[in-house]
């Protein structure tokens, strides 16, 4: 399913989107597939499919550990791309957004990498260490292969840059809630609300907010201010990392958390509408 279609569908249903972020292969490929299945069965609308990297500088301690484990267990980019195919083979049709650091596509060849993920069934890519200044190749190759390049916007982003980013972005914009790295946080600053409102003045593109979201209240609050959905990642890893021997046992808890965050997205959307 294309991203546009998904956002259209959510609008009709009057819901905010939930995009969970999973790094593939932690602690093993089999579990990642089950995890994605569980998430989509419990309200996940879009899957952020992470390809682990050795030096994930935009990620906090939870995802650093996730990447380290996945790599130790022998996960490689080709295995991850194969994983996208497996998700599709299971009949999961939700849009898939691949996230990885730039060295992975750089080494394979940007065009070849994007073609491969497209062919496997992905719709978009997030490369956190490619700002708009360095995005020419990614954008051009993305266009050729039909992969959206998703850009991030941070509290430090100036009005100038905001405009530049809004002009070239496609798919949706990723709003970084807080200054820092990925990871579940207790509270979200007012800056999130301000940032969402600031970005809204420049674009009608869907906005998904991430970094620090781990529960229903936060999801609801962020969507109520005008975001079109939320991204949660470390919150799920924190659940299954408690039982790495038998991570499957944590799937019911993950299912509940996903359903709650999705519920927050729905509530938030309706609060925003004023009913």
């Amino acid at each position: 399913m294309e991203l546009e279609e998904k956002f259209q569908e959510l609008k009709m249903k009057r819901e905010g989107a939930h995009m969970p972020h999973v790094y593939y292969g932690d602690p093993n490929e089999d579990f990642s597939l089950k995890l994605i299945e569980t998430l989509t069965a419990n309200g996940a609308d879009i899957i952020e499919f992470g390809i682990p990297f050795s030096d994930p500088t935009a990620d906090g301690p939870t995802f650093q550990a996730v990447c380290e484990r996945a790599l130790e267990n022998g996960v490689t980019p080709p295995k991850c791309i194969q994983g996208i195919r497996k998700v599709r083979e299971k009949g999961i049709e939700n849009p898939i957004v691949v996230t990885t650091y730039y060295n992975i596509p750089y080494v394979m060849g940007i065009g070849a990498f994007l073609n491969e993920i497209k062919e496997a069934g992905a719709q978009a890519i997030i490369v956190p260490n490619v700002p708009v200044e360095e995005a020419d190749v990614l954008l051009a190759e993305g266009k050729k292969s039909g992969i959206h390049t998703i850009f991030q916007i941070a509290p430090t982003t100036t009005e100038d840059r905001l405009k530049k980013i809004a002009d070239i972005a496609s798919g949706f914009l990723y709003i970084i809630n807080v200054e820092g790295v990925t990871g579940a946080r207790e509270s979200l600053a007012d800056s999130t609300l301000k940032l969402v409102q600031r970005v809204r003045r420049h674009t009608n593109m869907p906005l998904l907010a991430g970094f620090g979201i781990s529960n229903r209240q936060q999801a609801s609050a962020v969507v109520a201010t005008g975001a079109d959905g939320v991204i949660a990642g470390s919150a799920y890893a924190k659940v299954y990392e408690k039982n790495l021997e038998k991570p499957e046992e944590t799937l019911p808890e993950i299912a509940r958390l996903a359903a709650q965050i999705k519920q927050g997205c729905i509530e938030g959307y309706r609060r925003r509408q004023g009913n």
Partner: protein
């Protein structure tokens, strides 16, 4: 060429959070650095605090041993014991101009961390230094010095607990405090404008060499030799001579134990172009692009990447890259101790080792400047253990 690019190397591959901060830093550097006010302040500190200009010493006994004329550029005499202070003072002054109150940085050998807290104190800035746990152990004396000077030293225990991990973690920490805090990068690595800023502040080394050698020998050197990983002392020495093709430039990286099986830090031998810590550079990595850890006994050379400018200069052939194995490096320490009565840092000993290893190739009248980047007090325990055990 685009700003911050050295051929295919360099660039600004960072998270959006940091981009506005890098743009601000570049603007501040361009605005303040050329002013006579800034130059006076920096010149004054380099002279009166750091002890510049450093001498260019004719190493008579070492020259005899290697069969040519060798001058040592005595960066070991910069206050703190290495060239690192040249850059730290410059960036600390810049931090003041930007109105920020804190410095963060990472360090491996501890020399850059030490230089940063010195410069921070002089300029009235707080300093926090991130250091891999493994490096904290092997460079314990510098950890003590930094703490005594008032730095907060934060151990980094992710990954292998070495420099690569400390850089990653400092970048992460910086994203949460970049509005009040300057990341004082110590080498010619990282996203633009860092490689340019650091090379500019270090280029005082080469500018002095040029003047001093003309006075002593009435001609430029035939060759300049420097060790490195990111490339700060090498570029510092090279920059004034890059346009003069008659001056051969030699860069010596950490060979580690051997070039096989992840036992080396020699990225020019066993690495390839890739993106790490904000820039395209020559970097150790596996076939899929996962960064590999580097290995060498010299903590200050233990980084998997070569900075963008030195990467481009080696690719074009302007600079020739060599490496020295740990074993050869310890022997080189001994040779320098016995010939000139100087204990070099293990990093510097890589350049010395190159001279010893290639002594058959030098002609008698050949004029070589070896950038003697640091003293070896910090390595005393490691050196003693190597030669005498325990």
């Amino acid at each position: 060429m685009k700003k911050g690019k050295f051929g295919k190397y360099g660039g600004q591959f960072v998270n959006e959070i940091l981009m506005p901060i890098l743009i601000e830093l570049e603007a501040a550097f361009e605005k303040h650095y050329p002013t006579s006010e800034f130059q006076e302040k920096l010149g004054g500190l380099l002279r009166d605090y750091a002890g510049r200009p450093t001498p260019l010493y004719y190493a008579r006994n070492f020259s005899k041993l290697v069969g040519c004329q060798v001058y040592l550029k005595r960066e070991d005499l910069v206050c703190g014991g290495s060239h690192k202070l040249n850059n730290a003072l410059g960036q600390a002054l810049l931090t003041k101009e930007m109105g920020k109150s804190r410095l963060i940085t990472e360090t491996a050998a501890g020399q850059h961390g030490l230089a940063t807290v010195m410069a921070g104190n002089v300029c009235g800035l707080e300093t926090e230094v991130f250091m891999g746990v493994k490096d904290m152990k092997r460079q314990a004396s510098n950890v003590k010095r930094m703490k005594l000077l008032g730095a907060k030293v934060t151990p980094v225990d992710i990954g292998m607990g070495v420099l690569k991990d400390a850089v990653s973690d400092t970048l992460r920490k910086w994203t949460a405090c970049s509005q009040t805090t300057h990341y004082l990068m110590g080498s010619t690595v990282g996203p633009h404008p860092y490689p340019e800023i650091v090379a500019t502040f270090q280029s005082v080394i080469g500018t002095e060499i040029k003047e001093q050698i003309l006075k002593k020998e009435d001609r430029p050197p035939d060759k300049i030799v420097a060790c490195g990983s990111g490339g700060s002392n090498a570029l510092g020495a090279f920059r004034a001579f890059i346009d003069n093709e008659d001056v051969k430039l030699v860069f010596v990286e950490g060979g580690g134990e051997s070039l096989e099986a992840d036992n080396s830090a020699a990225a020019f031998q066993v690495g390839k172009p890739g993106i790490l810590h904000g820039a395209v550079m020559q970097v150790l990595q596996d076939e899929h692009g996962q960064i590999k850890p580097s290995k060498t006994r010299a903590a200050g050379l233990n980084y998997p990447g070569r900075g963008p400018e030195i990467s481009a200069l080696c690719e074009s052939g302007r600079v020739k890259a060599y490496y020295a194995f740990d074993k050869e490096v310890f022997e080189a320490v001994k040779v320098m101790c016995r010939t000139e009565g100087l204990i070099p840092a293990l990093e510097t000993a890589h350049a010395i080792s190159y001279m010893i290893k290639h002594k058959e190739e030098f002609e008698k009248g050949e004029l070589v400047v070896l950038n003697y980047s640091g003293r070896g007090d910090k390595d005393l325990d490691a050196i003693m253990r190597y030669f005498h055990g325990a």
